[in-house]
Amino acid sequence: MRDFFDRLSANAHWFVFLILEITCGYLLFQFNRYQGSVWFTQANALMGTVLDWEAKAIQYIHLADNNKKLTHENLVLQYNMEVMRDELTRLKKDSSYTEKVLAEFLQDVHLIPAQIINNSIRDKDNYMTINRGELDGVKPEMGVVSGTGVVGIVFQTTNHYSLIMPILHSKSSISCRLRDTDYFGYLKWRGGNPLQAYIDDIPRHAKFHVGDIVETSGYSNVFPAGIFVGRVAQIHNSDDGLSYQLEVQLSTDLSRLREVCVVAQENQIELDSLENQVY
């Protein structure tokens, strides 16, 4: 026993060295933005592979359920298509114009399908990881959508994985408008219920009702205009009483999401650099 303690005190500097270096490392990654962010993405790239396996396994288990849902969705879509086709034949005379607009819209947008391999909804700042990265064409600041609506924005990318800042993040702010009225505001999440977010600064004179549709405005050039976000659930007064504050029921349940698409806009970089010149 005595021998043990002797040896311990003779090597005390080793332990002190380790403790001090760990302290330094903690300070370094906690308080330096650059090192912290490098650590963050590196850790995610390493974890990515493992999480990918896990996600695949879980997906296999949910296969039957998903199949049922897809079939149902297919039916709805086919029905919708029939309705649209009828509508289109009715408006046949300016169909060439519709086609042109649609082609223009799709020309600079293409979708990169991806799967979520890591997800959290409990924290104040949630993040998701998807299994597509720079090599698949994903870049930071691109939008992420699912079949049911907006999901979030790409935050950081590595070669094969990307980190998403979903709507459920305290810094997330997505430019939204009320369909048909064009009044717009920024969608913010305040923690708590993952199906509830808020839009501030809707002016007093705006006319709208509970149940109106909220969609993306297209102002932020992250999302194209008109992507479904949710519905107005309640109308509150803002804190200063000068405008309305809308409580939005989000259409996308992020807690049970697996398949998403990244929205890549061809001319986004051009737009960004143009705006950077101005501001």
Binding site: H13, L20, E21, C24, L28, Q30, V38
Partner: protein, 168 residues
């Protein structure tokens, strides 16, 4: 005992003041910044307490970090250099050395001492720049900054050493 402690404290204060007030503002050609504070490790005698050395380097690093707004960066590199320093000194000191030998040109032999200084500065600088850049993405920039800072630090430290040698 008290006197050595006070002298050590004074040396620390002078080096920190020199670094913070003068050298932190030097960016020679945009690359090289001298980091002379590492010289504190060169003043430690052969029989210095190793745990004490580590804490000294840690505190020194933290104070400097507080001034340059990089918590943990300088401290980590200093603790590492302070950990290696006793091993280095024990390996490089002459065989017939006394217990409380302070490494100088005279006590260690001229070239031996220069080699000792070069190695300690090298260890601290490598550690510092690896942690600062934290990737080899811009390795040319990294190498250039590192080499520039290393050379300029070494020149100033060696100048300080020769000054100290003349006085003692």
């Amino acid at each position: 005992m008290i006197v050595t402690l006070l002298i050590r404290l004074l040396q620390m204060l002078v080096l920190i003041a020199f670094q913070v007030l003068v050298l932190n503002h030097v960016h020679f050609l945009g690359y090289a910044t001298p980091m002379v504070y590492v010289a504190i490790l060169l003043y430690l005698p052969w029989n210095a307490n190793r745990v004490g050395t580590l804490f000294l380097s840690f505190v020194m690093g933290l104070v400097l970090d507080a001034f340059s707004n990089t918590p943990g960066l300088t401290a980590a590199s200093m603790v590492f250099a302070g950990f290696i320093q006793p091993y280095l000194l024990h390996a490089m000191a002459p065989k017939d050395t006394v217990e409380d030998m302070v490494p100088t040109y005279r006590s260690m032999g001229k070239w031996n001492h220069v080699r000792y200084v070069m190695l300690i500065v090298l260890i601290q600088q490598v550690c510092y720049f690896l942690l600062e850049c934290f990737s080899f993405y811009n390795y040319r920039e990294l190498l250039l900054t590192f080499a520039g800072s290393y050379v300029i630090t070494l020149v100033i430290v060696l100048a300080l050493e020769s000054f100290r040698n003349r006085n003692s």
